[in-house]
Amino acid sequence: MEMPAPDHRIISRRRQIARSLRRLVPADAVIDRAAELSAYESDGFTAYRQKPLITVLPVDRDEVAAVLRYCADEGIKIVPRGAGTSLSGGALPLADGITLGLARLNRITDIDYPNRAVTCGPGVTNLAISTAVSSRGYYYAPDPSSQVACTIGGNVAENAGGVHCLKYGLTTNNLLGLELVMMGGEVVRLGGKQFDAAGLDLLGAMTGSEGLLAIVTEVTVRILKTPARAVAFLAGFDSVENAARCVGEVIAAGIIPAAMEMMDGPAIRAAEAFVGAGYPTEAEALLIIEADGPEVEVAAATARIELIARRAGATTFRVSGSEAERLAFWAGRKSAFPAVGRLAPDYYCMDGTIPRASLPLVLTRITELSREYGLAVANVFHAGDGNLHPLILYDANKDGELRRAEAFGTDILRLCVEVGGVLTGEHGVGVEKRDLMAEVFTEDDLKHQQRLKCAFDPDGLLNPGKVFPTLHRCAELGRLHVHRGQVPHPELERF
């Protein structure tokens, strides 16, 4: 994986650039000492590290705008960063780029209950939004497992999901408005508190754009009333096939649960050993299903889901009898990553999405690959929406194991694409899956995506080296190659 070649003229001006930045933001907001810069050298994707040229920590929109205007004038690259929890290297620094940390824009500025909208800075954590409105019985639906730490700005950049997006959608479906600062320092507002935003859906285009289009300085999200009742079920199965059939049949029966998660044998046992959630350790697959809504609807769903699970061959079936037990059921799932992490010095978390029906096939193939690569794997899976998280176990200190884990991961993602799925469901492309983009997209597909970037950031200064395997200059992308339709146009092969 290669990053764009650093510009040594920029690097050699480091001290002067830091001085200029200190005129735009308070002196302590500019970090340029090597020891302090180490804190920013990677994000949640720890396989790659790079110290940034300088880190700047603005406190408000005007400081962000001032920094961006200066950087645009000087041709200095920007890498935006929230809490640094990205699992795809979205905030991996550049040696010649400024890491723009947005964590200090961390104020909730407006809670509007009648319109069910919360407006806040991008540095507010995901969970803090729910916490701020919980006393009135509201919450913010997307719940990525890093929700204690990850910021809402980062959630927008990655279009973060979570276990409840089966019913409540991803970030993009819960976002009402954004304030952006463009690379040149111009401020743009998109959406607001109304349901449909005006004009082109730039709000939709911004969500999941991984910090390559503009810097988010304010976010308005929709909050929901906490459901009257929520019940979780634990269904153990002696095969992944049976569990997968249960998932398909729940959906086919017209039930959309609030969440429907699957863990395989190794993940079940690791989680149980870690938190003691009461999981059936002899099971080869476990479904955690949640139904929520009015009492009477939850009761109806409970009866139907149990029947479907038993018919699909569930060997155990438990219904949470209290709120404490429901949370305990989830505790195992939510701690699955660290639990699996205890089994080996390092793990590599994958994030492909597949059509649900191909789950048994994909898991069988992953087991085979695990044998071929000689690396263990545990599977945690947002079964309801087909989002797979295989956790590959390895030891970075053993020669070649990291490379082997990466090759294994690449094979899994290729497999996802092969069965009609995609490379990433919620973690983003970042640097991690950048070079695999050509497996999914043709050159014209990617060029059109880059043209969207050109509309926002024509000089390509925002987060270069992420998402796109090949960087084209906007002037080149903008050129119109006029060729009449009848002239043969070579269609690029799809892999």
Partner: protein
């Protein structure tokens, strides 16, 4: 605009657009043409119809996903879904009758290109929230794809959203993939009669947050209610507040009883079951309860407002411009037909005044029906300014540098 180009497949579509680019010929894009009245009038040198790019190519009910040619008739899609007990959760409204067309027309591509959503929108999301993937030909004459057949996907930019609601001004859709949903076992609508607008606002707000788990909330002032094809609504003799419940048979029955009991102190209630409930929301969602063109409804606006400001904003507009208003999306959508101006040719029909009030209330306005001459003069979509207008222009220029696709449909000169 005499020439009609009607490609047989996506490659034909690409050829047609590439030729137009080479010849610098502008194209007016359509499917069935049922929504030609929505947007600014397009002046183009040829008409590009995608009507032949039709047909469902993939439908996996268990995966909750369907893929269809852009010009697949909505009727065909709805019939296929119905057979499997499924539906489109965003409840696309049938706007045909609003434009004097028979009901039941329109294509899935048209619904997506215009991002049209019905009464379930606040609870289930808009059309844009259900589009999973697209294939399209840009104004460069190049085919590109985005998204896929799975719901959870952040692989690359969400170009599907960019194209949804772009009115064919950036690219022409050839294939669309979208999420489908199980149709609830039962549906009932509780009608509450005689509420004032302020009371209705409180009722809807309370219902959205309440334990009933409603899936639609509308308020029809007396005149709008009187145009309903349903006796209970038409003969109400006053305004009607409507709340919809969907779910399991036993659940909906029980929730209806509870909701009516909770509303008992606010006025008389009634309930609509099954088919009649569906008829009600088809009417409420499609603007047909406002006066017809020529009978006071020459200009019809659709205002998107923060839901808690909808009733107040709509009331102020009615006070300023006369005419009628009607509310959906728990107040977040205001249908508005201002009283016709005495000399409509000379003025903007109150557009500026209306937009000022809408902006004060934190929303935006779309002129969904008006004579062509008015739509040429009055901005149909909320005018953009400053950095946002410049950004919109750069997006257009990147996807359609010669401006061949639907010139001027959204914004003058774009």
């Amino acid at each position: 605009m005499d020439r009609l180009i009607e490609p047989a497949d996506e490659d034909g579509l690409r050829t047609a657009i590439a030729d137009a680019v080479a010849d610098k010929r502008t194209l007016a894009v359509s499917g069935q043409g049922t929504k030609a009245g929505l947007g600014r009038p397009v002046e183009a040198q040829a008409r590009l119809s995608v009507a032949r790019l039709s047909g469902i190519v993939h439908y996996a009910p268990d995966e909750l996903v369907m893929e269809a040619g852009a010009a697949t008739p909505m009727a065909e899609i709805e019939a296929a879904l119905d057979e499997c007990g499924q539906q489109l959760a965003f409840e696309p409204p049938d706007l045909g009758p609003l434009y004097g067309q028979p009901p039941g027309g329109g294509t899935i591509g048209g619904v997506i290109a215009c991002n049209l959503s019905g009464s379930r929108r606040p609870f289930a999301g808009a059309a844009r929230d259900h589009v999973l993937g697209i294939r399209a030909v840009s104004g460069r004459g190049e085919v590109f794809a985005s998204g896929g057949r799975v719901v959870k996907n952040v692989t690359g930019y969400d170009m599907s959203k960019l194209l949804t609601g772009s009115y064919g001004t950036l690219a022409v859709l050839s294939l669309v993939t979208f999420k489908v949903a199980p149709r609830p076992e039962a549906t009932r609508t509780v009608l509450l009669f005689g509420e004032t607008p302020a009371d209705a606002a409180a009722t809807m707000e309370g219902a959205v947050d309440g334990p009933s788990d409603i899936s639609a909330a509308a308020y029809l002032p007396q005149k709008a209610a009187a145009r309903s094809g349903l006796d209970d609504v038409a003969r109400a003799g006053g305004p009607v507040t409507a709340l919809r419940l969907e779910g399991s048979r036993e659940g909906v029955a029980e929730r209806t009883v509870a909701l009516r009991a909770a509303l008992a102190t606010s006025g008389e209630t009634e309930e609509l079951h099954g088919r009649r409930s569906r008829v009600f929301w088809a009417e409420a969602g499609s603007g047909v309860l406002l006066p017809k063109a020529g009978e006071g409804g020459d200009m019809v606006w659709r205002l998107s407002l923060p839901p808690a400001q909808g009733i107040a904003g709509g009331g102020m507009i009615q006070q300023a411009l006369g005419g009628e208003v009607s509310f959906d999306w728990a107040g977040g959508l205001v249908w508005c037909a201002p009283a016709p101006a005495e000399n409509p040719e000379a003025v903007d029909g109150g557009a500026e005044k209306l937009r000022r009030i809408v902006i004060e209330h934190g929303g935006h306005a779309t002129l969904v029906r008006a004579p062509e001459a008015v739509r040429r003069r009055v901005p149909v979509f909320q005018p953009e300014g400053g950095a946002l207008a410049a950004l919109t222009r750069r997006v257009k220029e990147n996807f359609d540098p010669r401006g061949v696709l639907n010139p001027g449909r959204m914004f003058e000169g774009l």
